[in-house]
Amino acid sequence: MKFVDEFRSGALAQKLVHELEASVEPGRALKFMEVCGGHTHTIYKHGIEDLVPPEIDFLHGPGCPVCVIPMGRVDDAIALAERPDVIFTTFGDMMRVPGGRGSLLEAKARGADVRMVYSPLDALELARRNPDREVIFFAIGFETTAPSTAITVLRAQAEGISNFSAFCNHVTIGPPLKTILDSPGLQLDGFIAPGHVSTVVGTRPYDFMARDYGKPVVVTAFEPIDILHATVMLVRQLRDGRCEVENQYTRVVKRDGNPRALAVLDQTMELRDTFEWRGLGWIERSALKLRPEFAQWDAEARFELPGTRVEDPKACQCGEVLVGAIKPWECKVFGTACTPERPIGTCMVSSEGACAAYYNYGRLAKRRERVPA
């Protein structure tokens, strides 16, 4: 068992493809949204669209944590990073995300002390080693990464480390899905629900999608075989007239998620009244902030923030891409004004962003024939 090769087996893929070919109704388009950017990446990296019947179309959802951070929050992050006493730490793929006035990578080139870390615990270690500096961690991501921020804050508290703080931008997975389901004119036949975040939150947060909106949901892992398997599971539900939340990622995801992770989240964080999502606008109770008793480690409480608001660029259609209304290459600026090296919208920045995945891997996909909806 190598844990990767088995899930990339071409022979196994063929079996699943045969079942799909036998199950879809010829000429009837099926649109499935893969919510998570990791799924989008896998679909393109392994060329899954080449394999499935032309009736099946994958739409790319809002589950790229980098892509949904609004430009104003990036500008606020840069303002924090430019303080002379600050070491600003971030995950690597946030470095190139453009705000209203450049990216963290550019701020670093201008002299800000911006450092890439692989975990918030690395940032805490930097705080230990640099007691005379303020170390701020740019906390982003869904409930997937939020527990690691929570644990880091708890550890800072336990060790009495006072020069560490988190700039909290954690978001929750349920509300944007509801926003998508409520968007007018939505044509979706089912959801490939995210895997990593479900290891924490379990499968219950998706129940409303099947119950209230009548959409089949399959919580799915990240290897190409997983995605094909989930597609088969969705097609089976539709064929059998079922509408359920199923779990394909049983090797990791439990119905109730990870209670310990949820407990530390609840201990340290609470829902914000509202939060701005890039491309989706303001969504109520969709993001997390540190609870007041952890203000000591909350960069928003510790430092004066400009509180920048930047409208999404007019030319950018990230919002429509994020709700699956258009394909990335149908955006007016895709591949011309907006490219991975000069992104306008954040969907083009992270390799998990729908546009970047299309641009890097899938530019031939649009030449392929599709069954009209």
Binding site: K2, V4, R8, S9, G10, A13, Q14, V17, Y44, K45, H46, G47, I48, E49, D50, L51, G92, M95, R96, L105, E106, K108, A109, R110, M116, Y118, D122, P224, P340, E341, R342, S351, Y359, N360, Y361, G362, R363, L364
Partner: protein, 343 residues
């Protein structure tokens, strides 16, 4: 050679400009070529080709800023010699002489410097080329990260050698002389920031002997490159664009160590973009493919050689990968990943 030159629109230099991908190309084409441009520089290949009294010379230079300076499988010294020798070798040249420039930070241990000089001497001797000129500069503490080395090299190209993108034809095969990505991942792991325990060594080596084996194929050898910064993907993209052809890679045929695959998987990096420092990429005529593979595999350094792809007409200028899973995808040039310094 390329129809459209990349524009440089950035106001300051960022680390992306040093990553070997699109941003690097923008910096080189949009600034240096614009200001320094001349017919010798224009091809932007590994070595410039000069005609002197009827002889063809290859001339190249490269700077090394690798961190850490010592890493499993090598150090900045043999890396600097091998890198420049390899740039000459893939141009089809026999190296004649090298130069070495050292920028040393105040406080750098002399013992380390000697160790590096010894490793350079060994690498130069193995390649059969003298380090014939040198320079040293010392800067204040904090103004350089220990040691930077710049090497330059000059070589002579035999009259019968004719290599270049313009010789590439549909149906030609693409070979690589061994596993890909070893150097880049070995250096990343050696930095110790990832807390990974992986048994990986750099592939840094002189590929001159392999290049000479392939040169014996005559006109059936079309083109050679050493896939350093930016990896195999970047080298093949440059090739596809220069020759106006498509390159199709077969994922199953790519030689990648399981340790490299695993480390890349954890970090979200594609081995196709990871630097090699002792590998050779070659394009050969289809009928010479078996002979080329046999010649490479006959040497210990080329034992892991493989045929990894093929040249086709369409789509022009793109590299495509046929995945083991049965699909296909575009393999684009690297877009400035914030990767650490690896060469």
């Amino acid at each position: 050679m390329r129809p459209r030159r990349t524009k440089l629109r950035d106001e300051v230099v960022t680390l992306a400009h040093g990553a070997g991908g699109k941003a690097t190309r923008a910096l080189v084409e949009g600034l240096f070529v614009e200001e320094l441009g001349n017919p010798l520089l224009a091809p932007l290949s590994d070595s410039a080709l000069l005609e002197v009294n009827g002889s063809r010379l290859a001339f190249t230079t490269d700077s090394y800023v690798v961190k850490p300076i010592f890493f499993p499988g090598g150090d900045i010294g043999d890396l600097a010699v091998n890198g420049t020798v390899n740039d000459l070798a893939v141009a089809g040249a026999q190296p004649l002489a090298l130069s070495a420039g050292f920028v040393i930070e105040e406080g750098f241990p002399v013992a380390d410097l000697r160790r590096i000089a010894v490793s350079m001497a060994r690498a130069a001797e193995a390649a059969g080329v003298p380090v014939a000129a040198g320079d040293t500069k010392v800067v204040e503490r904090g103004k350089a990260d220990g040691l930077y080395v710049t090497t330059a090299g000059i070589g002579i190209i035999a009259p019968e050698v004719g290599l270049g993108a313009e010789h590439i034809r549909t149906g030609d095969r693409v070979l690589v002389s061994g596993t890909i990505g070893d150097h880049g991942m070995a250096v990343m792991v050696a930095r110790g920031e990832l807390q990974l325990e992986v048994d990986l060594a750099s592939d840094t080596a002189c590929v001159l002997v392999l290049a000479q084996e392939l040169l014996a194929l005559g006109g059936a050898l079309r083109f050679m490159r050493d896939p350093t910064r930016g990896g195999v993907a970047t080298a093949l993209n440059e090739l596809a664009q220069a020759a106006n052809v498509a390159v199709y890679l077969d994922e199953e045929a790519l030689p990648v160590r399981p340790e490299v695959i695993g480390t890349c998987e954890i970090l979200g990096i594609d081995p196709l973009y990871v630097a090699c420092e002792g590998r050779l990429l070659a394009v050969v005529a289809a009928e010479a493919c078996d002979a080329a593979l046999a010649r490479l595999q006959a040497h210990p350094l080329g034992a892991g050689a493989a045929v990894i792809g093929e040249v086709r007409d369409e789509p022009e200028g793109l590299v495509l990968l046929e995945t083991s899973f049965g699909g296909s995808r575009v393999v684009d040039m690297l877009v400035g990943d914030p990767l650490p310094r690896i060469c």
